[in-house]
């Protein structure tokens, strides 16, 4: 199995005044290509920091982070931006759609950053929205949509450029249980369809049932690893 995401003795320490807060203590893990994996933990367990480290949003205090064979922790801001553009999709808890853009424009935004021509990217974005069941909402703005619909737009945006790795940070955190199920189903479907690696951070054990492998995080360390088959 090819490794897509690898962590070697990753450690992240924050300084709050004189006090040191260890968010990620010493974590090593590796996620294979096409694997759907879940980081489960309570609030304050360090799971979000772990995700930030993997996505290159934060630098580790120690250790290595390797995505698709590249040392993410060694990259400069500019390199990281380009790397994210090519390799990483992101689903946020609070959707984070651009309020002034329509659903279609929001989904096509990552393609815009890549310089895909207007016609092509609109076509791809429309297809994605169709796939997430929002074919009739292309011209709607985020304010005109429900939370579930917004999150589906967010998912379409994360997957539209077919990135090898998609990170989802509490994707169902703001949704009711029924919508959560729909959203999770959508993400899995998409990831499986193109052999994309999906990393989900959640505090909800119910969500973790969907993953191939579940890492339970406690106080900055991996407590248990559970494999679902």
């Amino acid at each position: 199995m090819k490794k897509t995401v690898e962590l070697e003795n990753a450690r992240k320490v924050y300084r709050l005044g004189d006090e040191k807060v260890v968010a990620v203590d010493n974590i090593s893990l590796s996620i294979a290509e096409g694997e759907i994996c879940c980081l489960l933990g309570t609030s304050g367990s360090g799971k979000s920091t772990l995700l930030n480290l993997m996505a290159g949003l934060e630098k580790p205090s120690k250790g290595k982070i390797i995505i698709k064979g590249k040392r993410v922790d060694k990259m400069s801001e500019t390199q990281l931006a380009l790397f994210r553009q090519r390799n990483i999709g992101f689903v946020f808890q609070s959707y984070n759609l651009m309020p002034m853009l329509t659903a279609l424009e929001n989904v096509s935004l990552p393609l815009t950053f890549r310089g895909v021509p207007l016609k092509k990217r609109n076509q791809l974005a429309a297809e994605m929205l169709e796939n997430v069941g929002l074919g009739k909402y292309l011209k709607h703005r985020p304010m005109q949509m429900s939370g579930g619909q917004q999150q589906r737009v967010g998912i379409a945006r994360a997957f539209v450029s077919k990135p090898p790795v998609v990170f989802a940070d509490e994707p169902t955190g703001n949704l009711d249980s029924k919508t959560s199920l729909e959203v999770m189903g959508l993400m899995l479907e998409m990831a499986r369809a193109h052999q994309q690696t999906l990393v989900i951070v959640t505090h909800d054990p119910g969500i973790s049932k969907y993953a191939d492998r579940v890492y339970t995080i406690l106080d900055g360390n991996i407590e248990t690893i559970l494999e679902n088959h």
């Binding site: 979000s48 930030n52 996505a55 949003l57 934060e58 801001e77 500019t78 931006a81 380009l82 994210r84 553009q85 090519r86 990483i88 999709g89 992101f90 946020f92 808890q93 609070s94 984070n96 651009m98 002034m100 853009l101 935004l109 990552p110 815009t112 950053f113 890549r114 310089g115 207007l118 945006r157 994360a158 450029s161 940070d169 509490e170 955190g173």
Partner: protein
């Protein structure tokens, strides 16, 4: 991200915050307006000077005068340089000189029938008349073969009067009536005797001396009105005039003013174009002559107006500076508001340069639109000023109080855009450096 998308996104962001955008643009409008209008006043002043001067004479002519030039301060002992045929040849050799016109003149009395008039007669070489801008309204210019012929300036004929009548002529003021003398057809004479034709007082007449000779002359042309010194003189072939002067000198030994016949009173030098006047003038000065040209005046006037323009422009610049601060402020505010948005953009794949460009474009657009609107307003203000100022500047002036050349308008737009971009630069850098992490905070 391609530039078109960036531009559209920038526009979208500006439209999203209409009030703030409009207010910031308004600042730039005021700034641009004040600079453009201020400069337009200065430019109009410049044009006015040039126009005034061109009424006074040709700007491409340098006068070399025979005032007796002393090389003061150089210690060479005040040697006087003669202005003679030799000098004319020297001047002709200077590059960019198209014609040289040595001038002699004599003040004469002319008579035609009952009418007499005082006329300044200038001796001129017929072949340089054209390069020096002489052109006739009626008749013809002088020719090399002419001897006793005269070409009159437009105003000369109006100066004739009938000495037996009550003196009620106006110096060329009353142009509604035809002049008292038709100089082209009348049989005319001229003389250096200033009493000629006047009602004489026989008893006081000095009968010992022979009265000065009376010469027959014939008018062949009237010059076009030029509103310059040309209108007030009569022109004669130089060789003929020199002969007359020589004769007068022999008859009247008391004439002290023309003790050296080889020297000219002045030599006029015509230059290719205005730009070359200065270099030719300094070349002549280097030969040791005293020169004068209207360009001298023009230059000093220009210097004055440049100073005034600088002051006016400076006042305008202050308001544009304020506008620039306004742009920076708006962009900084915008960044605070959009911190999260910027972070999200970074996370989902925006390049750092894209973010920087986006903000620069927004700031540039503010500057650009402010510049465009400001220039439009400036044209309106300019029209208004010219309307108000029309009476104040006098009817002869065509340029008015305020002139906005196209270059100024374009420069103003380019400059305000540049100001926008410069003001947006530091906020744009700040936006670029914002942490992408901000986006993921769930607050």
């Amino acid at each position: 991200m391609n530039n078109r998308d960036l531009l559209l996104m920038g526009l979208g962001n500006l439209f999203r915050r209409k009030t703030r955008t409009v207010l910031t643009v308004l600042g730039v409008v005021i700034g641009t307006c004040s600079i453009v209008v201020m400069l337009s006043l200065g430019i109009a002043m410049d044009r006015g000077f040039q126009e005034q001067l061109s009424y006074m004479g040709d700007l491409t002519i340098i006068d070399v005068n025979n005032y007796g030039y002393y090389d003061g301060g150089m210690g060479s002992g005040g040697q006087q340089i003669k202005l003679d045929d030799q000098s004319v040849i020297q001047f002709q050799k200077i590059p960019r000189v198209t014609a040289v016109m040595p001038v002699r003149s004599i003040y004469m009395k002319m008579a035609a029938g009952r009418y007499v008039g005082y006329v300044n007669v200038i001796g001129i070489d017929p072949e340089v008349m054209e390069p020096f801008g002489f052109s006739v309204e009626d008749g013809r210019l002088l020719q090399a073969s002419d001897r006793d012929t005269i070409v009159f300036g437009k105003s000369v004929a109006y100066d004739f009067y009938n000495p037996r009548m009550q003196r009620n002529y106006y110096y060329g003021m009353n142009r509604d009536n035809p002049p008292p003398v038709d100089v082209l057809s009348a049989k005319m004479v001229m003389t250096t005797d200033m009493q000629y034709g006047e009602t004489r007082n026989r008893w006081q007449d000095d009968t010992d001396s022979t009265p000065p000779k009376v010469y027959d002359v014939r008018g062949v042309g009237i010059l076009e009105e030029s509103n310059s010194e040309k209108d007030y003189s009569a022109y004669m072939n130089r060789s003929s005039l020199e002969k007359i002067m020589e004769e007068e000198r022999r008859n009247n030994r008391n004439d002290r003013s023309r003790n050296d016949q080889s020297q000219f009173e002045r030599v006029r030098v015509k230059v290719d174009n205005i730009e070359d006047v200065e270099s030719v003038q300094s070349a002549i000065q280097a030969l040791g002559y005293q020169t004068f040209s209207l360009t001298d005046i023009l230059n000093s006037m220009k210097e004055t107006s440049r100073m005034i323009q600088g002051i006016l422009g400076g006042i305008g610049a202050v308001s544009l500076l304020v506008a620039a601060i306004g742009i920076t402020n708006t962009m900084v505010m915008s960044i605070y508001e959009r911190t999260r948005e910027i972070g999200v953009m970074k996370v989902i794949g925006a390049q750092l340069t894209d973010i920087k460009k986006l903000f620069l474009i927004e700031a540039g657009l503010i500057g650009f639109s402010g510049g465009v609107v400001g220039v439009c307003f400036s044209y309106l203000i300019s029209v208004g000023l010219n309307h108000i100022g029309a009476g104040f500047m006098g009817p002869g002036s065509t340029s008015g109080m305020s002139v906005i050349p196209l270059q100024l308008a374009l420069m103003a737009i380019a400059f305000s855009t540049l100001i926008g971009i410069v003001s947006g630069y530091s906020p744009a850098r700040r936006a670029m450096k914002l942490s992408a992490l901000e986006a993921i905070r769930n607050d």
